[in-house]
Amino acid sequence: MTPALSRGALPLLAAILVAGPMAAQQTDPRLERLEAAIRPAVAALVDSARAAMLPTEPLVQRALEGATKHASGDVIVAAVRRLAVDLAHARDALGSTASPAELTAGAAALRAGASPTILAQLRQTRRQPLTMPLAVLADLVASGVPVDSAAAAVLALAARARDADLVEFRRAVERDIALGAPPAAATAAAATLSSVQVNAGARQQRPGRP
């Protein structure tokens, strides 16, 4: 997938893509956990993201995840670079006012296969934060739901559904898939049920479970 980019995002992506050889100005001390050979490249990517006003914490965490999982240096640099590009695409689609949490979730949705157009439509549809709908979209695709079905369901619910409603919707889909329902059918059924239940009244807060 190659999302269309605005003119504003092109210089940013160019900076990210060539950031490897650049020297980092102020290295995050946590990056000391990386191999010395890749530390400058990762630090330069983080610096480029910071200069482009993108959130840098997801990039640092991506690199640290790779280090903890003993991934090779090349794989870590590639993973961090890919995430930086996805964050830039997400910002391009969601707008400059998007929060770091929204950008991170948007990057995950794009990586799952959602188009920038879907992200932009979500932004227009929903006045509340987009973190949860974007995350649910990515999670559904990861569960095997076709991206078009997942996007259609989330877009249909996004306008009025609360975060808790969206989490419940995702759980219902996953439960039906686990019971043997085809993912697209499970999504459509759960979306229909959720749209009836949305705003049906105040609900008790769900306990904090992933």
């Binding site: 946590r30 997801p58 640092v60 965490q61 640290l64 995840e65 790779g66 280090a67 903890t68 999982k69 991934a71 794989v75 870590i76 590639a78 993973a79 890919r82 929060s99 770091p100 949490a101 929204e102 991170t104 979730a105 995950a108 990586r111 799952a112 509340q128 934060p129 987009l130 973190t131 949860m132 974007l134 995350a135 649910v136 990515a138 999670d139 695709v141 990861a142 569960s143 975060d163 808790a164 969206l166 989490v167 995702r170 996953e174 306990p207 904090g208 479970r209 992933p210």
Partner: protein
């Protein structure tokens, strides 16, 4: 015999018009004398303030001035009351999440993820209740986090009760937790 009064006046005037020789060191001597004189009875400024406060003073106030003073006092009291009633500034609402893993044969389990720098030493999980249950409680700000369980220092496990993180890069399984809000 007396001289004429006009003559004596003229003579006195001439005498007074003649320059008088003054000792050049006179100024210095005078100033030294003045400096050596004891100072009049003045204390520190704090003492002066204290004495002023203890002295009775007469204050005159016009009706308009009294009203203005009362109004100013009322504004001060109102503002202090409103500031005590206003809510604290909103912060990013963190939620507490409990992570649970059933691992009967594990001897050591850590929770690692985007919220603790993927550091296995930061969030060791506690064995609770039955011997098989490992738990950890973590506060999370709004966002989407990848995480995994690190078992016995060598084995990665995803959370079977959470969405799977698609990860083509690192291979080892991870899960996802999303905290809403945070616009």
């Amino acid at each position: 015999m007396f001289e004429h009064p006009d003559d004596s006046v003229d003579r006195a005037a001439r005498q007074l018009q003649q320059p008088v020789d003054i000792d050049p060191a006179l100024d210095g001597r005078v100033m030294r004398e003045i400096t050596a004189l004891p100072a009049p009875g003045r204390g520190t400024w704090l003492g002066e303030v204290w004495r002023w406060l203890r002295r009775p003073h007469q204050v005159t106030l016009t009706p308009l001035g009294a009203l203005a003073t009362a109004a100013a006092l009322g504004v001060v009291v109102l503002l202090s009351w409103m500031s005590s009633k206003s809510p604290a500034p909103r912060q990013a609402a963190s939620r507490t999440f409990q992570f649970v893993l059933v691992a009967p044969r594990a001897t050591r389990v850590s929770l690692v993820g985007d919220f603790n720098d993927w550091d296995p030493t930061r969030t060791p999980m506690d064995r609770t209740g039955s011997e098989a249950l490992w738990t950890a409680v973590v506060p999370l700000a709004p966002g989407r986090y990848h995480y995994a369980f690190f078992v016995d220092g060598s084995r990665w496990l995803a959370d079977p009760s959470a969405p799977v993180a698609r990860d083509e890069d690192y291979g080892a399984p991870s899960s996802v937790v999303t905290v809403g809000g945070g616009s």
